[in-house]
């Protein structure tokens, strides 16, 4: 079975950067126009949501201003501390553990080829297995405390990083490896100075997948078994028909998800600046 997870996230090409020497004023205008072009639809949608639900009496779709009022009241102090902080802690620990084990495991598999060949099908099975089905067994094994949540987040988020690390390290340019051999670099040295950097774009792609999975499992684990956390908050509000509260939770979750992704992309761009620079050169 061929592992073909390599090309999924990297396929998206970044728009080439604008490099022109225009007058600063015109450039500013241009950028302003671009920003406006990117934002107007978003603003329109929020406005539509506001207007359409303004006099809504549907229990499921309360007016947006009611939701926003409630959001400010509930989330800025109490719920943020009670529900958001523990969720974020579980997520951070779980994601970090998954990332470290994923990259280290990839390196180990690179060093020990037999292990890689032998264990790839198992890894692939666990990657393909929808992680939420494991929740019941994790609850049986670890109870419903914080440990279970961190464990399932880490477990589920491990596979995308591991598989991409394996794949990225396997497809390092053979010429580089031969050069390293000719120079007499030790395997460890080769790993640190050649294999890891060469595989890092794909490892980053794997980590980005892992982050999505980790967020998903954070919410799902709180929905199934918990007394705190943002997932619990949303599901609890839904089950007690407090739809305004439910909507505030959904908005907070959406914003948190977006911010986490944004942070990831920024860090990725900074760490892999050399790679994006190279690619932009190739495309030019």
């Amino acid at each position: 079975m061929a592992l073909d997870v390599s090309s999924q996230p990297t396929l998206r090409s970044a728009p080439p950067p604008e490099t022109g020497r225009r007058a600063p004023a015109r450039m500013l205008l241009r950028q302003g126009g671009r920003l406006l072009g990117g934002v107007w639809l978003f603003a329109l949608m929020v406005a539509l949501w506001w207007l359409l639900t303004e006099h809504s009496t549907s229990p499921y779709f309360p007016p947006l201003h009611t939701i926003l009022n409630e959001l400010a009241k509930v989330w800025f102090f109490r719920a943020a501390q009670q529900d958001l902080v523990p969720s974020m802690e579980h997520l951070a620990i779980g994601f970090a553990v998954a990332g470290v084990i994923g990259i280290a495991g990839g390196a180990l598999f690179w060093r020990v080829r037999v292990a890689r060949e032998a264990l790839t099908p198992l890894v692939y099975f666990l990657y393909v297995l929808p992680a939420p089905v494991l929740l019941p067994s994790f609850i049986l094994l670890f109870g419903i405390g914080s440990f279970m949540k961190v464990a399932i987040i880490a477990f589920a988020a491990l596979w995308p990083t591991l598989l991409n690390a394996i794949d990225g390290m396997r497809s390092v340019d053979p010429l580089k490896l031969e050069t390293a051999r000719t120079l007499g670099l030790s395997p460890n040295r080769t790993l640190w100075s050649i294999v890891l950097p060469a595989a890092s774009p794909q490892i980053a792609a794997g980590l980005r997948n892992s982050l999505q999975v980790a967020i998903l499992l954070m919410v799902v684990s709180e929905m199934v078994a918990s007394t705190a956390g943002i997932g619990y908050f949303i599901l609890n509000a839904q089950q007690s028909f407090e739809s305004v509260d439910m909507w505030t939770g959904i908005i907070v979750l959406g914003v948190v998800g977006s911010i986490l992704n944004l942070i990831f992309v920024i860090v990725e761009r900074l760490v892999l600046r050399w790679y994006y620079g190279e690619r932009a050169l190739q495309q030019a």
Binding site: W40, L41, V128, P130, A131, V133, S137, L235, G249, I250
Partner: protein
């Protein structure tokens, strides 16, 4: 399509590729042996742990128990019905979501203004965890098949749309300009230029979306209460320690469904895009 491929290969400056080299069957076969051995070893470890009594009896069943439970599930109609329900939710949601995504994505990709206006909205929607929508879907539709495929379609739509949009916009400028110079327009341009360059992006997006869709289907069953494998697992877990092997049997079966779907999607992608550079044998060999 053939025209385009020829066009592509004649692009000045592009490296001429050497003729395809035959793959190495011996190594592949050896690799397969090691892979099977790896799986056998994993299963053996499970069995040995069971025999040695190292597995906690109240949370982890032994291999024979689980194997027997898998047999019962797949031997009777109940197991297959659940698999069918899960597959139905998956297929409907995946089908609706990807059809919409391809239509919308192509429309946005072809229009500069539409692209600039909507891309940030779509990128934002993509980052919202889909489970956030689950309670709304449950409120609106209850624990039904409709809730299930709505959730799946929603989750499939955003990332796939982005993939399609970038695929349509990824046209090779030389190909695009050549088509323009030759006066290829309208439907012919769409079929000859736009679709072939977007196809690999769309195919990759479809393959990834298939896996995402399965995860969401399971979540809709596990939390939303729609019928299928996910709900069976929760029900089995709630019915006590004696049903433990069934829980694990269902987990293995779900994994099997995942493998079948993913393998099928990978194969379809490879067949459908055989003409594309990425899937020509040489490239695969190097990759």
């Amino acid at each position: 399509m053939a025209t385009l491929t020829r066009l592509r290969r004649r692009v000045p400056g592009e490296v001429h590729r050497p003729p395809d080299t035959p793959s190495r069957p011996h190594r592949r076969l050896g690799g397969l042996g090691v892979k099977v051995l790896g799986l056998v070893c994993a299963v053996l470890v499970w069995e040995l742990l069971g025999v040695a009594g190292a597995l906690p009896a109240d949370s982890f069943p032994t291999l024979p128990e689980t194997a027997r439970a898998i047999g019962t599930e797949l031997g009777g109609s109940a197991g297959w019905r659940s698999i069918g329900q899960t597959l139905a939710g998956w297929a409907l949601g995946y089908g609706i979501g990807s059809a919409c995504a391809i239509a919308v994505g192509i429309a946005i990709g072809l229009n500069r203004f539409a692209f600039r206006s909507s891309i940030s909205v779509i990128e934002f929607m993509k980052t919202i965890p889909v489970v956030a929508i689950l309670p709304i879907a449950v409120l609106e539709f209850g624990g039904t098949l409709k809730m299930e495929y709505t959730l799946v379609a929603f989750g499939v739509f955003w990332p796939l749309t982005i993939q399609v949009v970038y695929g349509v916009r990824s046209m090779d400028p030389v190909v695009r300009d050549t088509a323009k110079a030759l006066g290829v327009r309208g439907a012919r341009r769409f079929g000859l230029i736009v679709l072939p360059s977007a196809a690999p992006f769309i195919a990759t997006g479809l393959r990834v979306a298939a896996a995402v869709a399965l995860v969401l289907t399971i979540i809709a069953e596990l939390i939303g209460g729609a019928a299928g494998l996910g709900r069976d697992i929760l029900v089995a877990e709630d019915s006590g320690t004696s049903a433990l092997p069934i829980v694990y049997a269902l987990i293995v079966i779900t994994g099997g469904v995942g493998i079948v779907l993913t393998t099928a999607m990978t194969q379809i992608e490879r067949r459908a895009l055989r003409w594309h550079e990425r899937f020509r044998p040489l490239e695969r060999e190097l990759a």
